[in-house]
Amino acid sequence: MKKRKIGMALSLVLAAGTLLGACGKSDDTSKEESKGGEKEKAFSVAMVTDVGGVDDKSFNQSAWEGLKKFGADNGLKKGKDGFDYVQSKSDADYSTNLNTLARQDFDLVFGIGFLMQGAVDEIAKQQKDHQFAIVDSEVDQPNVASILFKEQEASFLAGVAAAMTTKSNKIGFIGGVEGAVIERFEAGFVAGVKAAKPDAVVDIQYAGAFDKAELGQSISSKMYASGADVVFHAAGGTGVGLFKEANDLKKKDPSREIWAIGVDSDQANMGPDVVLTSALKRVDNAVIDISKKAKDGNFPGGEVALYGLAEDGVGLAPINDKVSNKADIDTAVNEWIEKIKSGAVKVPGTRDELKTFSAK
């Protein structure tokens, strides 16, 4: 009985193997043919997303838009010889995906997100003749470019806008998960508020997650109830709850002046009546920049590429037209932009730096 079972299983595995193996072979020949057709290989670039995928309305999406733009500008096609992406379904997939892309001979492979730090580090050591880049983290390998952003500069401007909009002098900040990146957002935002209106108070709260909209909603509900009239979120999907709460409150009482500030990309479409502005993190610009450099042979391997206001790596989205003192805010924001760009003001990136920060 037992023997028959094992024999059955074996023969089935074998049968499946030969069947599928046959498919594999037929494909191999066709691949070789197509390879023979075009000899000169164009520059190709690809990226690995984390589990969010390219429609996460956050940095994966932004990075992919950057790649698409780079592809369009350079006449590349989506696919193996141009630009492409692979989505990870779990943390275990980062390594496989990065390796697959390197094996497919992409000239440059992006790992999007600090979660991929370990995987990029390891594979860069193994695939020494391939170029990698990682967003939001540092990997110290000669063939890896590390892309970091000065998030504090964008959130500083958001803080200025918030301080100039608030009437109650109470402002809220919702963070996702505590970490270096979100701390930069927090420190910059508080510094911006203090710079524009020293007596305004910022209520700082962390949701502990980037994907819990209902948590974001309950935190912002408490903030608005306690008198805050502007709330900024650096919390990814959790921040969706902030916009929902603000929209709900506005619907109930249209005369009430409450605002929400978005993050990463321009989130104005989340609520035309309540979104004041957004602190932009231009992952797309950074991806385009690094791709261009790699294409021209100036790949910044082993270096940290820091993107701030001056490099067009961060910025502030247009202020909502419905704000009464929009013109004043615009002038103030532009003044600060000049000061930061010229180096006259250094925006704090940690809570410690914030303690010693003075804008004057």
Partner: protein, 348 residues
């Protein structure tokens, strides 16, 4: 048709049905199913690297599958594999980074720690079930969340100083091997596969060849009959959960000491524990069945990553096809009824 033949045929038909419906969907939505499945094959067995990755992927699946199957054979539905897996992962890494010991002690100690952690985590629902008849499904689901957040807290505040990731486990505790990596062209294949195969053997031996195993199975068939036969039902319930949890903890050690070599703060579940349920169901809750279905799941998971790139099939469609295969596996009852009908007709 013999019963054994039928139980072998059911999962195979399920997989074939999944592939057929997947093919239909691809044809309807304008993708070439031949290139898609070729890409799936190439991405799982097309290169020695991918073979290594498939083995790496199905190693924890085997153990997670055993964890579900073992409890199932005793009539318990262990949904808590994910949580037991996470505490196992944490315990293995903790021992791996905290001590400096010779390899011969360190590695077994780390593996053992994972096993004990998983077993303890499963002991709680086992005890609650045995003493107070609290349903194990509810307790284990909730314990998953406790495991997730407690292990995040420990990684962040106790093992590291407010970091998202622990250090790599010491050389003396790692399951990784340069030799295995070199023969598979830098895949993350590690020695854990040996542990997984031993696990399969242990489960088979324990259930089929020992008195204790007979008792466990009796409780699974009929608790009351087992009780009247003089068996201690409560003790067997707790024991089965503890052993199942031990398997799940070992699965965590595979990730902690093998695949990753560290533990990270996680925003959500890894899914290995839940895939384990599907693996066990497809494998008919036998150790040999779990072994083969884990291979299938591992190959599907790794191979699917290649489908968007090589065949241009969108990720969503890949997910649907994989889900369909799992769907037909889970609904194998329908297939079984169908097979019964056929065999009855034959008898007539």
């Amino acid at each position: 048709m013999s019963k054994r033949f039928k139980s072998l045929l059911t999962p195979i038909i399920a997989v074939l049905l999944g592939i057929i419906v997947g093919t239909i969907i691809m044809v309807v939505s304008g993708y070439n199913p031949v290139t898609a499945f070729t890409a799936l094959w190439n991405g799982s067995f097309g290169d020695i690297y991918y073979i290594g990755e498939v083995v790496r992927q199905f190693t924890p699946y085997i153990l997670a599958g055993l964890a579900v199957a073992f409890a199932f054979r005793v009539g318990l539905f262990n949904i808590g594999v994910e949580g037991q897996f996470l505490v196992g992962w944490l315990a293995a890494v903790w021992v791996g980074v905290a001590f400096d010991l010779p390899r011969i002690i360190h590695l077994p100690l780390a593996v053992l720690a994972a096993m004990v952690a998983g077993a303890l985590w499963a002991f709680i629902p086992g005890l609650l079930k045995a003493r107070f008849r609290v349903h194990e499904v509810i307790v284990t689901i909730m314990m998953n969340y406790v495991a997730l957040h407690v292990s995040n807290y420990i990684i962040k505040n106790i093992i590291t100083d407010n970091k998202d990731k622990t250090d790599l486990v010491k050389e003396s505790a790692t399951l990784r091997s340069d030799w295995l990596q070199s023969i598979t062209d830098y895949s993350r294949l590690h020695w854990g596969i040996v542990i997984a195969i031993i696990g399969c053997f242990v489960m088979w031996f324990l259930l089929e060849r020992t008195t204790r195993g007979f008792e466990l199975r009796s409780v699974g068939f009929n608790q009351h009959a087992a009780h009247y036969a003089g068996m201690n039902v409560n003790k067997n319930i707790i024991l089965s959960m503890v052993i199942a949890g031990g398997f799940a903890g070992l699965a965590g050690a595979m990730e902690g000491l093998g695949t990753f070599g560290y533990a990270t703060v996680k925003g959500g579940f890894t899914g290995v524990g839940f895939d384990g349920i599907a693996v066990a169901l497809l494998g008919g809750n036998t150790s040999l069945g779990v072994f083969f279905s884990a291979i299938l799941f591992g190959a599907l998971k790794v191979g699917a990553l290649n489908m968007p790139l090589e065949a241009g099939v969108p990720n969503e469609l890949v997910d649907i096809i994989i889900a369909l295969i799992v769907f037909f596996v889970a609904s194998s009852y329908i297939i079984r009824v169908f097979l019964d009908r056929i065999s009855k007709k034959e008898v007539k």
